[in-house]
């Protein structure tokens, strides 16, 4: 079976560099320059996979990224393994291993192949119809489907490779380095445009480079030879950057494109180490020149999917570019002249071409005459009605085509062959063009979609714009370049082009067979096994929109995104439904054009820097003292400080008691701090807080509640008046950035007349909060000359002082209900301040406490935490904080909303305290609250928002929001849990020191 089908040395294959690789466990040889596909074909391996639904044997069909069948797993079982890779795009290297996908136990003997014989029972929509009923069976079906589908395996260990992102800016981006792209890039760069030329292949030149058509000449040499000289020339042009192995994946608005540059995939494993594997280029181009070329279409006939059936252009590329004969008995099937170019190419290399079957009745072109002269048999007006051969094509059966192309007549002729090159015409590759938002129109004469309305600064040139002949390409390219680059002359003005003019074509979307359609398998989408009859069935079942037919039949939905079969699907729908293709429209081509690895999308693995942590100036101290941390936004905050193996509960109980009995200290540096200055600062605060600010004396602090315009609580915090026109506002830790944004919004857009300036100073200060009955004594030790008497420094006031040479701002404010001071110093002195407090507090057993204890202490006092006890649906009235809403102020943000009928409803959820009848039971936060247990459905009145065991009260306490809770004081309610119902009583939310004696102590 194994034989060498290498026909002639090719300049793109280095025969001195022999490479061994494994495919499905067997060792083969190829040469440097081969793709996995070309090397397999050189070893006469066509069978490379099984189809998705019927598990039919499938072979290599194409030579590029449009490949639907040769989908392989690269380096299986290693941490570099990659599924769903097209064998046509893999450059081989020593040691490469690849295996077929979607076959078990092997590609040669595949159990799923039984689906092929069951196929009458697997029509379009089969999965939707069968596996949806009964619903309870879905789990069983899913198991079965997943096991039989098996499209590749993802690696199970981490990716060893490095990936990267790069921003690229250029004047002109040229996509595709075929003849059009090369000439466009050359002229752009020569006219001083910073130009980037990208191509997905490793060689420049596109298909012209191996065309070798003696009838296509530029300046008296073949277009292939001429282009090679151009390629040499552009390599030296400054202003021009060329990137090969670079595939544009997405084309977004405003000429923003994403491209994947492949850097190491073609290297041997040892050479891949410590190099960037793939780089995502984020390109902003002033102008984009699309030179993406065209894709050859297959023809749709019965059993058109056997291994050995390929695109005619691929057969040619394998012979001309890779020096590989795809078969020893070759036949072509055509509706245009392209197949003749391929046939002649094989013939000139001494490869056997037995026949060409052409659905046209004649062609006058020179190349057809040349093929006839070579003695190759041409069957005009014939079509293939069937093919034979299970794992490799053995023969084709042909019959005479009727004049209208809908049926066949006469007797059947069988032609034996092992390779069939199919030439169904060319489809412009407009995928990227449509991704950019530009619109196509259907050209009825050429039967193709063409670029029509550009939405961004772009042009399409060459075959992707419908120009297939070199003279046309160059003439139109020349004009488009002059227009878009605004230049007067190009070096294309004076070149001489000779071409073979005939370009006749006969388009039949679905070719007839002697058998009834229902008994045939004309595949439209090879990867998803969608046939022409599936599409017709979908139409019979009432689907009309192309998008619906696509989803129902899964046509065009595989990794190849319907690059080959989409046009045929549209054509068959149009023919069957009796509408024009132009009216039908086309489906949306979505990014990526070719699949991207996750690594490329993610970019560089920056480990812990992926999501930045913010740490306070005291952070090192917390670590040294074994604090546990919690994440609050991006902040790492000390959560609690366990000693001697304490649990969290034990630590928090100890810290909470210490803070009330003697002294505690909290790192409050993360609180948001906004510096507010300007002659209208007081007026501004009046407008953004619910309470009044104009009369706040300098040196005084005030708690403020900020609403959204809808009346719901947005943030809270203490603001201090530092001077006549100077305030410092504190916000919640998590709300700091949003509050600043919101205030800026009002200042800039609603009240530009106010003279107010906002500056975020959160990171500029470190804050230590000293709390407890001994806090005053500790502060006195640190700042002996500051008068801490209640007369000089009462609750809710502020003093500036010095600790040694360090300036500090001290606020006597409290979030715990204890006598407390918040000491703010320049951030760099934060740790010094903290250590001074600890040292001075030693004799009072000063206890550092974390956020958990802070939450507990404030809950004992019934202080809310915005975002925990509120959720964007709570007004200050709902929170029973009516006292903070000014009745006198004419307006503030959210005021009007407090008088809406909805916000004034009596039965809104309101904040209350909850006490469990059994004081040892601590409720779960989030638990539901009900009043009746025997009703169905049970009406849910609200939920628990904060819940703790209070060591200072020696019982559990909770805050909750309960519908109509304000009027339920003393009412018995229930908290139903999984195994029990907990009895609770509604209480005042201030559990501790409701007269605030301790604050002023």
């Amino acid at each position: 079976m194994t034989k060498n089908l290498r026909v002639k040395s090719s300049e793109y294959i280095d025969e001195t560099n022999r490479i061994s690789f494994k495919f499905n466990g067997k060792t083969y040889h190829g040469f440097k320059g081969d793709t996995l596909a070309s090397a397999l074909l050189a070893n006469n391996v066509h069978l490379v996979g099984r189809s998705f639904k019927y598990h039919r044997p499938r072979g290599i069909m194409t030579s590029g990224s449009e490949e639907p069948n040769a989908i392989v797993q690269i380096n299986p079982g290693t941490n570099r393994t990659e599924p769903n890779v097209r064998a046509t795009e893999v450059e081989i290297y020593e040691g490469l291993e690849a295996s077929s996908q979607n076959c078990w136990p092997s590609v040669e003997f595949d159990i799923g192949g039984i689906n092929n014989f069951l196929s009458p029972f697997l029509p379009a929509g089969f999965y939707y119809k069968t596996f949806m009923w009964p619903a309870s069976f879905w789990e069983k079906y899913e198991f079965f489907i997943r096991h039989s589908a098996g499209l590749g395996k993802s690696p199970t260990s981490s990716d060893p490779d490095i990936y990267d992102h790069r921003n690229v800016h250029c004047d002109v981006l040229v996509i595709g380095a075929g003849i059009s792209g090369i000439l466009a890039a050359k002229n752009a760069a020569k006219n001083n445009f910073k130009t980037l030329l990208v191509d997905e292949k490793n060689e420049l030149g596109g298909s012209t480079i191996y065309e070798n058509n003696e009838f296509n000449k530029i300046d008296n040499i073949t277009s292939s030879e001429w282009l090679k000289k151009e390629i040499e020339e552009i390599k030296g042009i400054k202003n021009l950057e060329i990137k090969t192995r670079t595939s544009v994946a997405a084309y977004h608005q405003y000429n923003y494109l994403l491209a994947r540059e492949n850097l190491t995939d073609h290297l041997e494993t040892n050479d891949k180490t410590n190099k960037i594997r793939q780089r995502l280029l984020k390109i902003r181009a002033k102008k984009v020149i699309l030179a993406t070329g065209a894709l050859e279409r297959p023809l749709i006939f019965n059993n058109n999917d056997r291994p050995g059936i390929m695109l005619s252009s691929a057969v040619k590329k394998y012979s001309e570019f890779y020096g590989v004969a795809c078969g020893s008995k070759n036949v072509f099937f055509a509706n245009n002249d392209s197949a003749y170019e391929s046939a002649l190419s094989l013939y000139n290399k001494g490869i056997n071409v037995d026949a060409i079957i052409d659905i046209r009745d004649q062609s006058e072109s020179k190349i057809v005459k040349k093929v006839e002269e070579a003695g190759i048999k041409i069957y005009w007006s014939h079509t293939i009605v069937d093919t034979a051969g299970y794992k490799r094509l053995k023969s084709v059966s042909i019959m005479k085509l009727s004049n209208d192309g809908t049926s066949v007549t006469g007797s059947k002729i069988s032609i034996s062959c092992d390779c069939l090159g199919v030439a169904g015409g060319w489809t412009p590759a407009v995928h990227l063009y449509t991704q950019s938002g530009s619109k196509l129109k259907f050209d009825e004469e050429k039967q193709i979609f063409l670029p029509n309305q550009n939405t961004s600064n772009q042009i399409s040139v060459g075959s992707c714009s419908g120009d297939f002949k070199i003279d046309q390409i160059i003439k139109n390219l020349n004009q488009k370049l002059k227009d878009t680059l605004n230049i007067k002359e190009t070096d294309l003005d004076n070149i001489k082009v000779e071409i073979d003019q005939e370009n006749s074509k006969r388009n039949i979307w679905l070719l007839p067979s002697d058998k009834h359609l229902g008994k045939t398998k004309p595949f439209v989408d090879y990867q998803n096994d969608a046939t022409a009859k599936d599409i017709k069935l979908a139409l019979r079942e009432g689907f009309r929109s192309i998008e619906h037919v696509k989803r129902y039949t899964t046509t065009g939905m595989g990794t190849d995104q319907g690059k080959l079969g989409n046009m045929h699907a549209l054509g068959i729908i149009a023919d069957t439904a009796g509408v024009k293709m132009g009216e039908l429209g086309t489906t949306t081509f979505r990014p990526p054009y070719t699949p991207l690895t996750f690594g490329t999308i993610v970019g560089r693995n920056v480990g812990k820097f992926f999501d930045i942590f913010r740490r306070t100036p005291m952070n090192d101290w917390h670590i040294e003292n074994k604090a546990e941390f919690e994440n609050v936004g991006q902040w790492k905050r000390a959560w609690y400080y366990p000693i001697n193996g304490e649990t969290m509960h034990q630590a928090v109980q100890r810290e909470s008691k210490a803070a009330r009995e003697s002294a505690g200290i909290l790192d409050a540096s993360t609180l948001g701090k906004i510096d507010i200055q300007g002659s209208d600062a007081s007026e501004f605060l009046n407008r953004v807080y619910t309470n009044a600010w104009s009369k706040l004396a300098i040196g005084k602090c005030r708690y403020g509640l900020m609403l959204n315009e809808d009346g719901m609580v947005y943030d809270d915090g203490v603001t201090t008046r530092l001077g006549e026109n100077h305030y410092i506002m504190t916000t919640t830790t998590g709300g700091a950035a949003n509050v600043l944004g919101k205030l800026e919004d009002y200042l800039q857009t609603e009240w530009p007349e106010l003279d107010v300036y906002l500056t975020s100073v959160t990171d500029h200060y470190a804050t230590a909060s000293l709390c407890g009955p001994n806090s005053k004594k500790i502060l006195k030790k640190i700042i002996p000359d500051l008068d801490l008497s209640d007369e000089n420094f009462p609750h809710m006031t502020f003093k500036e002082a010095n600790i040694g040479h360090i300036q500090c701002r001290i606020m006597r404010i409290s979030f715990t209900g204890e006598h407390s001071y918040e000491i703010n110093v320049q951030a760099s002195y934060g740790k010094d301040l903290w250590e001074k407090c600890m040292e001075a507090g030693q004799e009072f057993n000063i206890t550092p406490y974390g956020t958990e204890t802070m939450h507990l202490l404030r809950a004992e006092k019934g202080f809310i935490i915005v975002g925990q006890d509120t959720d964007g649906t709570m007004t200050p009235i709902d929170l029973q904080m009516d006292w903070i809403v000014s009745k006198k102020k004419y307006d503030f943000i959210g005021k009007r909303s407090l008088y809406r009928s909805d916000t004034m409803r009596e039965d809104r959820k309101q904040l209350v305290g909850l006490l469990t009848d059994d004081p040892n039971i601590v409720l779960e936060e989030g638990a539901q609250i009900v009043s009746e247990l025997n009703k169905s459905p049970i009406e849910m009145l609200g939920h628990v928002t904060s819940s703790y065991f209070s060591p200072n009260l020696n019982k559990s306490i909770a805050l909750a929001v309960v519908r109509g809770g304000k009027d339920m004081m003393g009412k018995k309610l229930f908290v139903p849990m999984e195994n029990r119902n907990i009895n609770v009583t509604v209480a005042n939310p201030v559990f501790y020191d409701s007269t605030n004696e301790r604050l002023n102590a």
Binding site: Y254, G741, P752, R900, S901
Partner: protein, 91 residues
């Protein structure tokens, strides 16, 4: 991904900006005089036009300035950008 011409900084990538909804909805000067319906009109009602729409944008990760944009939502063409307080361009 848009390329947005901040009136203060010049062309920048869209990811530096934050969209701020419909433009030219002025906060009522005397909210307390409004009926519930009138207040609801200001508070909740926004157009969602397929076509030319006036929008507020903020250069959030740049100069932090707010400005206005005229954008065709059907093809995302940015037709005009102007500062807060400036008159919208006539169509």
């Amino acid at each position: 991904m848009f390329l947005i011409n901040c009136p203060y900084c010049g062309e920048r990538d869209q990811q530096e900006f934050k969209a701020g909804g419909e433009a030219h909805i002025e906060r009522p000067k005397q909210p307390t005089e409004l009926s519930d319906d009138e207040w609801a009109e200001y508070l909740f009602m926004r157009k969602n036009i397929k076509g030319v729409q006036f929008e507020r944008w903020n250069h959030a990760h740049g100069c932090r300035k707010w400005f206005n944009m005229v954008r065709d939502t059907s093809n995302d063409e940015i037709k005009a950008i102007y500062k807060m307080g400036e008159k919208p361009p006539s169509q």
